[in-house]
């Protein structure tokens, strides 16, 4: 993935003028700064947080393995293909257990068990389509996806997909 590494902007620390022993300005700092300014950017306007964010992005881009991305693809593909089946199964399950469970065991427990049920139902449908060697990490990824995803995160994904970010 070397070719997609994002070029780092010169660090803010480099804007400090470096002096040679004779008191003249070091070529290094002058060149770095002037190159940066040639592009029409002000040294003062560079926010430190954006540099940190770039570093974080670089770190993350190198972190996941291709296997993890492959698993994400397999899950997405199977969930997408079987989404009607999964929704139907879940609705059927809810109809059968129509007695208000949350009234008996409390809302939080009900939600936690609901997310587990969603995961289990989805897994019963897509589990067979996942290669054997990837089943364990795939189920973990699916469970994590079903249990932790929030509406705010869906809204954020929409922003990114619509190209507003």
């Amino acid at each position: 993935m070397d070719h997609i590494r994002i070029q780092r902007r010169p660090s803010i620390r480099r804007k400090k003028k470096m002096l040679n022993p004779d008191g003249s300005l070091s070529n290094f700092s002058v060149n770095r700064s002037s190159n940066y300014l040639k592009k029409g950017r002000s040294l003062r306007s560079r926010p430190e947080s954006s540099v940190v964010k770039r570093e974080a992005i670089n770190f993350l881009l190198q972190a996941p393995t291709s296997g993890e991305i492959r698993i994400a693809y397999i899950i997405a593909d199977n969930l997408y293909t079987n989404r009607d089946h999964i929704t139907q199964l879940f609705e059927e399950y809810q109809r059968r257990n129509n007695q208000n469970i949350s009234g008996k065991i409390g809302m939080e427990t009900a939600q936690a068990s609901l997310s587990t049920i969603q995961t289990e139902l989805a897994w019963t449908v897509i589990g067979g389509h996942v290669p054997k060697e990837l089943q364990k990490p795939a189920k973990e990824m699916l469970a994590n996806f079903m249990n932790t995803l929030t509406s705010a995160e869906i809204a954020l994904a929409k922003q990114f997909l619509q190209g507003r970010e």
């Binding site: 997609i4 940190v52 997408y80 932790t148 509406s151 869906i154 994904a157």
Partner: protein, 70 residues
Amino acid sequence: MVTLKELDSFVKEYGKDGLSLLILFCHLKSKYESDLRQRFGLDEEEFNRTCMEVAKKLLKICQGQPTKKK
């Protein structure tokens, strides 16, 4: 926690690509949260945006699309 109905309406609108983006985002978020927040001191919102940005980039790379607009 999000319901299947909510997820279904998202999938209807954005398809398989949207779904893989969400799955990869959740994976990155859970796996690298402590490491990333400790190392870079990002707050919750910045962290979410970073993960989403990276998930989008990774998917584009896998689809052979350019990651930057020309």
